[in-house]
Symmetry: C2
Subunit: 374 residues, 2 copies
């Protein structure tokens, strides 16, 4: 056979990593569909009925490419945030936009700072462009803004990543602490502020940031509270020059026309968003009660999930996640110690929460037996 294609040295060195295994992959392996899908922080409450209707209507027009400028959606988002549309970048989910951002800024060897145990897909992109990741430990189950800034200064990082609220712990920093972090950033370090979970956070979580401030780019998504994970729409808010830079590398015709229509309807239906946020708050409380009833401790959460301290170590929590999966409940867990003593459970409808609780005692017993037996 002929010689294989010649990958770049960087690509040749990359592992064929998958940042997350999807629930469908697990379902195919087990031959059973999950009863409750609570592992990916999707919104079981669904998207706005208006968004569903808009997408169904747009399906018939799917023969047309989506508007490469996502003009109407960008206008609506700009109005919603009270900024000029030139500050808005629409893309294929935060994952897609993070990839473009890293590509714009990170060349092989460039330093990037994040927390050890924070969003793996960001790390996937940094590694994919040859960046060098410097990780700071969590402090008290939350990201540590001061330590992140110090590490950025120490390493000359081009990017420092922080999610607020945080995934996978659910912790929240108040706006003032993020504003102080921005003020303390070393010159030439861009704060990647992932606000995927901002819609379910307490009032006062989103910092006031001048849209012209070149030190911060914030990311928002329709995948969480808006219930449109499967539509792949995220956006960034940042200074105009950086927003314009995305045009250098983005997939200009990459947005689904149907998804554009769904996101536009979703942003216009703030009543549905408020409804979902209320449901999420109720589910978080219920998850706290369930945790307590079964000897676990719920961490405080400003997200659409609750991270529960299972009281032992990562080996036990992994066994618990596995036992829950066998019982038809899809949940995930933090990857890194000491947060890997926890499991992470998405907010769901009362029936989802009940299914989780019904499976929990058996799963806890199974996990305990396996850990003891191992």
């Amino acid at each position: 056979m002929e010689k294989a294609p010649r990958l770049t040295p960087l690509a040749a060195a990359l592992p064929s990593t998958v940042p997350f295994v999807g629930p469908e992959t697990q379902e195919r392996a087990s031959g059973r569909v999950f009863t409750a899908r609570l592992g990916a922080n999707e919104s079981v409450f669904g998207p706005s009925p208006r968004a569903i209707e808009a997408m169904a209507r747009a399906a018939a027009e799917a023969w047309m490419y989506g508007d490469p400028e996502s003009h109407d959606l960008k206008q609506a988002l700009a109005a919603h945030h009270g900024v000029d549309p030139a500050h808005v970048v629409v893309g294929e989910g935060i994952d897609g936009l993070l990839g473009y951002l890293v590509r714009l800024l990170v060349a092989p060897g460039d330093a990037v700072v994040t927390s050890d145990g924070a969003y793996p897909t960001f790390n996937f992109h940094v590694a994919g462009f040859g960046g060098v990741l410097h990780k700071v430990p969590y402090r008290d189950d939350a990201e540590d803004p001061e330590a992140l800034v110090a590490k950025a200064a120490e390493t000359g990082a081009k990017l420092v990543y922080l999610a607020n609220p945080d995934n996978p712990t659910g912790s929240v920093h108040p706006a003032a602490r993020i504003e102080a972090m921005v003020a303390a950033l070393p010159e030439g370090t861009l704060l990647v502020l992932d606000e995927a979970y901002i819609d379910t956070a307490p009032p006062g979580t989103a910092p006031a940031i001048d849209p012209e401030d070149p030190r911060v780019i914030r990311f928002r998504t329709f995948s969480k509270a808006h219930g449109l994970a499967g539509a792949r729409v995220g956006y960034a808010l940042c200074a105009r020059p950086l927003a314009q830079d995305f045009n250098k590398v983005r997939n200009h015709f990459g947005m689904s026309r149907i998804s554009q229509a769904g996101a536009l309807a979703a942003v216009r239906d703030q009543a549905w968003l408020a409804h979902v946020v209320a449901q999420v708050a109720a589910a978080r409380e219920e998850l706290g009660r369930i945790a307590a009833r079964h000897g676990m401790t719920a961490l405080p959460s400003g997200t659409n999930f609750v991270t529960m301290d299972a009281g032992r170590d990562g080996t036990f929590a992994r066994a618990l996640v596995g036992a829950l999966a066998e019982a038809g409940i899809f949940v995930r867990m933090p990857f890194v110690a000491p947060q890997d003593r926890c499991i992470r459970v998405s907010a769901g409808r009362p029936e989802d929460m009940a299914a989780f609780e019904a499976a929990l005692p058996g799963a806890l017993a199974t996990a305990a037996a396996r850990v003891a037996g191992g």
Copy 2:
């Protein structure tokens, strides 16, 4: 104000290019909606009604991420092509997949070969990763496989791009000529065979290529004959190791769940595809007659568009495209001489073809007057 983010030297040097201006951008500028949308080789005939139905159904489930493995779609495509699913890579349109491929293979300074006037988005990706493009002229309004291979050998190119059928001319090479091209490829050059328009090509156009052959990657799409441009689904067929390599860089959760459902329904509805292909063939004939009636010459086409020689130069053709736009007809044209003597008109329904013909005499007169006046 603080210092701007530090782009990589490569990113800093890139222009904020937009490969194509979308028709919506033109409509916003003019304040009028196009009567006939015949410029982007979309399928005015629409997607399969079953695909529309599947997407409308999937819209309600858009709260779930799409399966990151696109398992069901990949299985269906593999069965359709009689290959193992390990040879199939599903992605966000051919544009998205071309970006991943270029990223895997092209480092700054690496040579890539294409035709002068071929698909600009491929060039956008190559430039975006710092590759050096070597261009070969068209010969007789068609890409020149032998010259492309010779240039690849001369430059040590990692990639050589060829679309068959070709965009923007519509020309077709028979399978044997592509097979000969593969056989003549220099060692270490990968043929990027863009078969976006294969569904409307004459039988015998698609070459027989061993799916294990590491010298070729072929691209297919749901954006053309399948009528799903707005859904963003394309796929590649290639040797297993290269297919696996895409996992190193792709946006694993980048596929819209709705689009996956639409594409799956489309690949299962070959009757609709056959119906569209027949409509396209009829429209091509009609476009040939229209061209002849108005003093132009239609180039032979195996695509869902007809490229028409307007009989003069690029200045005239550009004026004609502009005059047609003013008359509500969206068409495009080749960018590079001598093909830029032509305009490119997508196949459409009888009413679209009629609208085009109705606008043509006035537009030809306007263009002639403007060129004379200029």
